[in-house]
Amino acid sequence: MRTIFEKIWAEHQVADLGGGTELLLVDRVLLHERTGGVALESLAAAGRKVMAPGQVFATMDHVVDTLPGRGDRTIMPTGTAFITATRAAARAAGITLFDLGDPRQGIVHVISPEQGIVLPGLTLVCPDSHTCSQGALGALAWGIGSTEAEHALATGTLRVRRPRTMRVTVNGRLAQGVTSKDLALHILARHGAGGARGHVVEYAGEAVRALSVEGRLTLCNLATEFAAFTAIIAPDDVVFDYLQGRPYAPKGARWDQAVAAWRQMYSDDGAVFDRTITLDAGAVAPMITWGNSPQHAVPLDQPVPAFQDVADHNTREAYDRALSYMAVTPGAPLVGLPIDAAFIGSCTNSRLEDLRRAAALLRGRKVAAGVRAICVPGSSRVKAEAEAEGLDRVFLDAGFEWREAGCSMCFFAGGESFGHRQRVVTSTNRNFESRQGPETRSHLASPETVAASAVAGRLADPRLLEV
């Protein structure tokens, strides 16, 4: 009786290196121009070669800007050097590059599922902490550092300390208007940003199975904010249907063979986890963050919590610091706080389904005066599909900027940021100090909440807007 994690781990095990560390086969390596270029260059400088270039993919997402008509010149100081160096290194190494202007370009964790690069049962690594997103497809996918990426590139393996296992079972169904982003923030608020440290988290239960692949990607995306080694969801027909026909997914007889193997990728009844958590989906409400850690989240209709209500996972000092940084008051409502900006994008919430849901609220409405609203599709393909449905018009007519695909203002990407101390409602994953600009005050929420707030000019509850 084994967990899905144990099955994948065993299948990839080359050698036990002692002390809990094992040598594992790595099936896919993904790179982006900010950390991947360094890995490729440093590898070449050491006179080493990429062992299996066919299994390695690179994209441009972090440094490139997302302004219409963009090119190698970018606002980020010295950014052009990252772009050109990554391009040259990718060519020299013979790996596949989704370059600027390529219709497959986009945020690495968005394009990997989209292109069928990540598949159930694979091991996949990328020098980027949100690689955990891709566990949504039933792969063991985790973030590494650049030096580890060099190791994976040169040897097709990694030396990995075996994580412990944890299952988070979400029973019941999420209520109407409650998204997987809200579920992820709910889990973080309840169990703390360190709640899954050292564990690979399997998300299971009726509410998780009911999520689309896109919704699952959002849920798994926030596993790094939960300090997890990574997250994984057992693949099912939802995943197989999603993958069939994708460019790098197997075809024909290979497809059938693969699906037969993937159907074995689940945790056996009676498999033992080091930890288990069970929660009720019905208790999850739309969430918003009030502080500087993703665990600083509350239901949208609740006030900023008092210290005694969050004391489990916070020190007094961190709590006070977050309050003063965010300029919020315990006991005061969050809904109604005036905002300067609204951002829909990032590997958390920038896929077609996210844009559709936000657009449904924006249709026929206008962004409040004085609010800067930006929508950045997660990939060039998402952008093209959204445009084919006319979603770009909905965003533009409402007063949103409509951008090229990339990480954008999730973190200053492309060299842009929000202004000093601006209050931003954002569909991203990190509300850390100055993440989105100098002393910028970021409130994490679902795309719906971002859209509703953009219209109201203040933090707002999307359930109160009629579609």
Binding site: L17, D27, T35, T86, H151
Partner: protein, 206 residues
Amino acid sequence: MTPFTILTAVAVPLLRPNIDTDAIIPSREMTSVSKKGLADGLFAGWRYTAVGGRVPNPDFVLNDPVYRGAAILLAGENFGCGSSREHAAWALAEYGFRAILAPSFNPIFRGNCVRNGIVPVELPTDAITWIASTAAQAPRTRLVTVDLRHQMVTAPDGGTHSFSIEPEAREMLLHGLDAIDLTLLRRAEIQAKRQADRERRPWVYL
């Protein structure tokens, strides 16, 4: 990589929890496609008076002359959380840090430390607070010792605190080894495993 056996050095306290890699090195400071030239950007948001500036903020602990040349960092829990950027470890190493004592580390960051010759030492919060308070009386003379061979930290008051570290990380740090070289010693084993896997899971191979 320089081998690490034993180090006696000035220890600088930065005890707040959840210091993330954006704080260790802000994005705007990562301006070159290189592992070098990052030390100036270390803790830039706190260390300088203005964004992008280089005027030292006198209130930030690293700018206190008594901590000049510090090679040991005393930190709070969940140190190195957030973005997986290895630049955080590169910047710390280039600045001169060889050991970080914290109650817990982000796992990716922890791995990056080991690969860059920094010893991640996990000790309980009260041990770290105690070490910090005994060192604070006279940081330049009340030094802290990290002995990796014996997995032991000696506080300025002579008190000892043992710590655990996985054997693989310990070996790499003690001998300054490159993990790729270590792994390539197993080339035959890796190839055999790949070959068998290729037959079992042909769809994996592009």
